[in-house]
């Protein structure tokens, strides 16, 4: 296949350098790069806001920014991070790049829709930035009515339209993945041979397809309500503000799984490659993705335990929330078991796996507190909740995303990143993250409500710890930007398969891949991660 690295081969990066060839590309690999750039931008914007309001919270008084500004900052932080970073992060970048390579296809099923989804995403992002500049938005990323529909004086309609538009980008991505996985697999690549990354994206695309349209119609109703006084969420007309919460969380809870499932897929790939072993309990790991996708649709009411939802509904949602915890636990146990008698390499991607397992365990287990009717009464809407979902979102999703980015960096760019700086960055992220969010668990138990602009003096110590952690975390995230960019020109040229990993994307496709991925359609004859069968 590939020979030595000195001969300049045609690949998807060097086959055309014009700007037009990038902006009008229908190549899934180039679209992934476009997403990578856009997502990194939004991640830095969202992160900057977080650092700003963490500085504000270093003192109990509100002194750095005004209350309005603070409210706008945490709202924009949530909105940007959720809709413009976490949801598209792994699927739109790594998923887009890898799915066709992993299943032996030349592209996704609908390449033009794929490009359209990026433009839709950019349009939504631009509108969000516009909303931020033209008055900002201060409703919290949850847009709860009637504050958002009647009382807020900020750019709610613009932000709502932005979310509505961005939703379609997500729908198109999900639709593309679903059809691609169903119809474009290479000969011999049966369902039971699919890499777990593909299984995870299959489950994710189902949630994207079923959930996102409900969010779209909900924010559309919110916009109509605010603009025209339509009334479905307005108690003055007999409407019900709690109905909005039901509709909102019907999407937004499964959205958590849109974020975490692809990251779990990445973790499965890395574990296999860096232990040189088949993932322990392949079937269970694959099936647990589907189980999470299905059950995940029936737990949204655990966000509404205190909303005046009926006691019976609360019990049902609490019960189902405990059920959905089990498949996640199964995954964690199987990854750990995969390491048993493996050949474990200590390179950066594997460190991210270790980070993921530790932090996601805390994130998942603290979910048990909040799924509990009695304990949630105390912890609901406090910093405990903030800490919990950051352990899942940052400790889980971003750990997986960063691990995947390091693992596939040579495949994407043809260059190696600097291992030393990558390890330093991992350490900073790991330490900074825990320093930021561990104290918030305690703050929550002490009763500090979230979204508070100033707070009681006795809580300052913990808040200062958290703010200090946020600064370390910020530096930890800036380092990769530097060494990744540096590696583009100066990094060591990557060999065809620098990690010695299995899979079509490493073994058959060039590094970096040919514009058409494969010179001829590969035929698959073995299951995924068949490391032991290599038998030299």
């Amino acid at each position: 296949m590939s020979n030595d690295t000195s001969s300049p081969k045609v690949n998807y990066l060097n086959n055309d350098y014009s700007i037009k060839s990038w902006l009008l590309t229908v190549d899934h690999k180039r679209i992934a790069i476009l997403y990578l750039i856009a997502i990194s931008f939004f991640f830095l914007v969202g992160g900057l806001m977080a650092v700003l309001f963490r500085f504000e919270l270093a003192t109990p008084q509100g002194d750095l920014v005004s209350a309005e500004t603070y409210n706008k900052l945490f709202t924009m932080h949530g909105m940007v991070m959720v809709f413009f970073f976490l949801i598209p992060s792994v699927p739109a970048v790594l998923g887009n790049f890898l799915l066709p390579l992993m299943i032996g296809a030349k592209d996704v099923a609908f390449p033009r829709l794929n490009l359209a989804s990026w433009y839709i995403y950019m349009l939504g992002g631009t509108l969000t930035i516009f909303a931020a500049i033209s008055g900002g938005i201060d409703t919290g990323w949850t847009f709860y009515t009637p504050y958002s529909s009647t009382y807020a004086n900020t750019a709610v309609v613009t932000a709502g339209i932005a979310v509505f538009i961005t939703g379609f980008s997500s729908i198109l991505t999900g639709l593309n993945f679903l059809v691609t996985i169903h119809k474009l697999r290479a000969p011999g690549l049966t369902w039971s041979r699919l890499p777990l990354f593909v299984w995870a994206h299959y489950a994710t695309s189902i949630i994207m397809l079923l959930g996102t349209p409900v969010l779209a119609i909900t924010v559309a109703l919110l916009a109509v309500e605010r603009g025209l006084g339509f009334g479905i969420f307005d108690p003055n007309l007999g409407g019900d503000p709690v109905l909005f919460q039901h509709l909102f969380w019907f999407y937004s809870h499964p959205a958590v799984y849109i974020m975490i499932l692809p990251s779990m897929g990445v973790i499965s790939e890395i574990v296999a490659a860096f232990c040189r072993k088949r993932v322990f309990g392949y079937t269970f790991v694959a099936a647990s993705s589907l189980a999470i996708a299905v059950i995940g649709f029936f737990v949204w009411g655990h966000h509404l335990f205190l909303s005046s939802q009926s006691v019976f509904a609360g019990m049902v949602f609490s019960f189902l929330s405990y059920i959905v915890a089990v498949p996640s636990a199964i995954k964690v146990f199987n990854w750990t078991a995969t390491m048993f008698r493996g050949s474990i390499s200590w390179e950066t991607p594997m460190l991210y796996v270790l980070g993921f397992i530790g932090l996601f365990s805390i994130g998942g287990l603290t979910g048990l507190f909040l799924a509990n009717l009695a304990v949630d009464v105390h912890l609901h809407d406090t910093y405990f909740v903030v800490a919990h979902f950051h352990y899942v979102m940052v400790g889980g999703v971003i750990m997986g995303y960063m691990g995947g980015l390091h693992y596939y960096w040579p495949k994407i760019t043809g260059r190696m990143y600097n291992e030393f700086w990558a390890k330093i960055s991992f350490l900073l992220i790991f330490v900074g993250f825990n320093l930021t969010f561990l104290p918030q668990f305690v703050l929550g138990q002490l009763g500090m409500p979230r979204r508070y602009y100033f707070y009681d003096a006795e809580w300052q110590t913990l808040n200062v710890l958290s703010s200090a952690g946020a600064s370390v975390l910020g530096i930890g995230y800036l380092l990769p930007v530097i060494y990744f960019l540096y590696s583009l020109k100066n990094g060591k040229i990557a060999s065809q398969n620098p990690w010695g990993a299995k899979g079509l994307e490493w073994e058959v496709a060039d590094t970096p891949p040919d514009p058409h991925n494969f010179h001829e359609i590969p035929v698959v004859t073995e299951e995924a991660y068949a490391y032991a069968k290599e038998a030299h």
Binding site: E68, N71, T139, Y144, P146, Y147, Y151, P235, N236, G238, V242, R276, K277, R278, L306, S307, S308, G314, M315, S318, Y322, A325, V326, A329, I330, F333, N334, M339, F340, R341, S343, I344, S345, G358, S361, I362, L365, L368, A371, N372, L373, A374, V375, V377, H378, H380, V442, Q445, L446, G447, P449, R450, R451, Y452, Y453, F454, E458, Y531, A532, K533
Partner: protein, 319 residues
């Protein structure tokens, strides 16, 4: 208040102890599980680190017994936690019948509280030690949430309906009251204090500043001032509208044939949206009082209607 640094909030209500027990069990579970998994992973990291580049470990397919074990045990533990918590929660939902009500109106960005005897407070709540206290809440604008960390209790205040919570204070002291549901610019400023007083102190506090009129009296005054008595008899026969004597807690038949129980929510709705549920036998002629009356006044009128006793030979509403 108090110490500069603490890991554990004060526990001052009858169910705080139960919740804390479960909370600390969960903390222990989380700690043990997380440290356990990380320890195992780290052990594997060291023990099975790659020693040579062409190392190729033997394949382990998976093990169905392991899978069943680590699916069933978490499931059982989860269900145990579910039942434990739900059991506690059932005791928190229903206020005991002897609870003394306190009426709370939340608005951006303050708490307005009124005791049955008419004494009202803003951002402060005085309650006697050991008394079952029921907080009945309405919102004048957006969502709020009534949160007293020391009591381990919290409930959203939802515009358009009444919500409630109850507690029995078990420790004398002063505790924080917060709004926990984001409600706009001064959300963080919407907080206050709950003072738990001894019986004697509470009595002194109550008498220290006698209110002009109790909630019932205020309700009666509003009932007359707003000319409700023109159509609704408080003590006599049915007039233009249904008479209200002894009607509270009964069920009445509506024009559409359904029945509805006359409770706080129904009375409130009938004052704000009189045409929504018209009692059978009456014409939909009552105007709305949405602009004339606020949430607190509605609560006073409800307190008054509750006191109206059935008159002999009369029935509230329509037969």
């Amino acid at each position: 208040m108090g110490k500069a640094f603490q890991f554990y909030p004060e526990a001052a209500s009858s169910f705080a102890g139960q919740i804390d027990n479960l909370y600390f069990f969960l903390v222990a579970l989380t700690t043990v599980m997380t440290l356990g998994i990380v320890a195992v992973a780290l052990f594997f990291f060291v023990k099975y680190r790659r020693r040579s580049d062409d190392e190729c470990p033997e394949e382990i397919e998976g093990n169905i017994m392991f899978e069943i074990t680590w699916s069933v045990i978490p499931l059982v533990v989860c269900l145990g936690i579910f039942f434990w918590g739900t059991n506690i929660y059932m005791g928190m939902v229903q206020a005991p019948p002897d609870s003394v009500p306190v009426y709370v109106v939340a608005k951006q960005w303050m708490w307005k509280l009124q005791h049955p005897n008419g004494r009202s407070e803003i951002n402060e709540l005085h309650v006697p030690l050991g008394q079952n206290t029921r907080i009945i809440m309405a919102s004048e604008d957006v969502l709020h949430s009534f949160y007293v960390p020391a009591f381990r209790t919290k409930m959203d205040v939802v515009p358009g309906k009444y919500t409630s919570l109850w507690f029995r204070p078990t420790k004398i002291g002063t505790y924080r009251l917060f709004c926990a549901e984001y409600c706009g610019t001064s959300h963080a400023g919407m907080n206050g204090w709950v003072h738990v007083l001894s019986e004697a102190d509470y009595a002194a506090w109550l008498s220290g500043n006698v209110a002009n009129e109790s909630m019932e009296e205020a309700g009666e005054r509003l009932f007359t001032e707003n000319k409700c008595n023109t159509c609704h008899a408080a003590t006599g026969n049915t007039q233009l509208g249904p008479s209200l004597n002894g009607v509270y807690g009964k069920s009445v038949t509506l024009k559409n044939g359904r029945t509805v129980t006359v409770d706080d929510a129904y009375i409130r709705e009938s004052i704000f949206q009189p045409l929504a549920k018209v009692v059978a036998g009456f014409n939909p002629v009552m105007p709305t009082y949405e602009t004339q009356l606020n949430e607190q006044q509605i609560m006073q009128i409800i307190s008054y209607i509750k006191t109206l006793k059935p008159v002999d030979g009369q029935e509230g509403g329509h037969e």
